[in-house]
């Protein structure tokens, strides 16, 4: 089980900020593929990965990063702080 978090418009499109996901995905990209299969709202949120960023256990990473040992994966648009 892994905690999956969504922020900003990713959160709005999927309709929830956080959920627990049972997955055997080896990488973030594989997890995204599993989520896309679930429902239209996931497919919509993940339709363009170039518009998304991902963090594993609160560290920015890439979509090909391995999920082994990860407790928390977060998806969000490019950040707009400052």
């Amino acid at each position: 089980m892994i905690d999956v978090l969504y922020f900003a418009w990713v959160r709005e499109r999927i309709g929830l900020p956080k959920e627990q996901v049972e997955t055997s995905a080896a990488t973030v990209a594989e997890l995204v593929d599993e989520l896309r299969q679930r429902e239209e709202r996931y497919a919509l949120a993940f339709s363009d990965l170039r518009a998304l960023r991902v963090a594993i256990d609160q560290e920015l990473t890439e979509f090909d990063a391995p999920l082994a040992g990860a407790r928390e994966v977060a998806f969000f648009p490019p950040m707009t702080g400052g």
Partner: protein
């Protein structure tokens, strides 16, 4: 190094004075304050979302990177989240160094990285509705200079 992530208002002038008092020996102090501006005459407020478990850590990492690049007597970052009305102060950065060039460069570096690497997302609320602020290519490009 001080990093504060908060929904409360802050007093930029009081923060600047407190920071200046803490970095005795530094000859140069630079501050940056970001304010919610009414971009097209229709903005009523801004809503800032963040990723609580990650935010302070991500900012601390950015500040550590600045400290490794420039000789700093101190660095301060305050960033708010939640609903902010037009004219409200969003965030501030302050840096102190012996030399002005270091203080300026470190402050600009912090701002560039906070823009694109700290987990905040801004939504603009206008009379006509709401829209997430899109990241600008030039903000991502700005990282290239460091």
């Amino acid at each position: 190094m001080t990093v504060r992530v908060q929904s409360d208002e802050f007093d930029a002038g009081a923060e600047l004075n407190a920071f200046t008092g803490e970095v005795a020996g530094a000859g140069a102090i630079v501050s940056f304050t970001g304010v919610v501006r009414d971009v097209d005459g229709g903005l009523t407020a801004m809503e800032i979302e963040h990723y609580p478990a990650m935010t302070e850590r991500a900012i601390a990492k950015i500040v550590e990177e600045a400290q490794s690049r420039w000789s700093l007597a101190g660095a301060l970052v305050i960033h708010r989240y939640g609903r902010l009305e037009t004219g409200a102060q969003i965030m501030m950065v302050a840096t102190a160094s012996r030399h002005r060039v270091d203080a300026f460069q470190a402050a600009e570096f912090l701002m560039d990285y906070l823009k694109s690497r700290a987990p905040f997302w801004k939504k603009e609320l206008t009379k006509d509705g709401e829209a997430w602020v899109e990241a600008r290519d030039e903000d991502e490009d700005a990282l290239g200079r460091w």
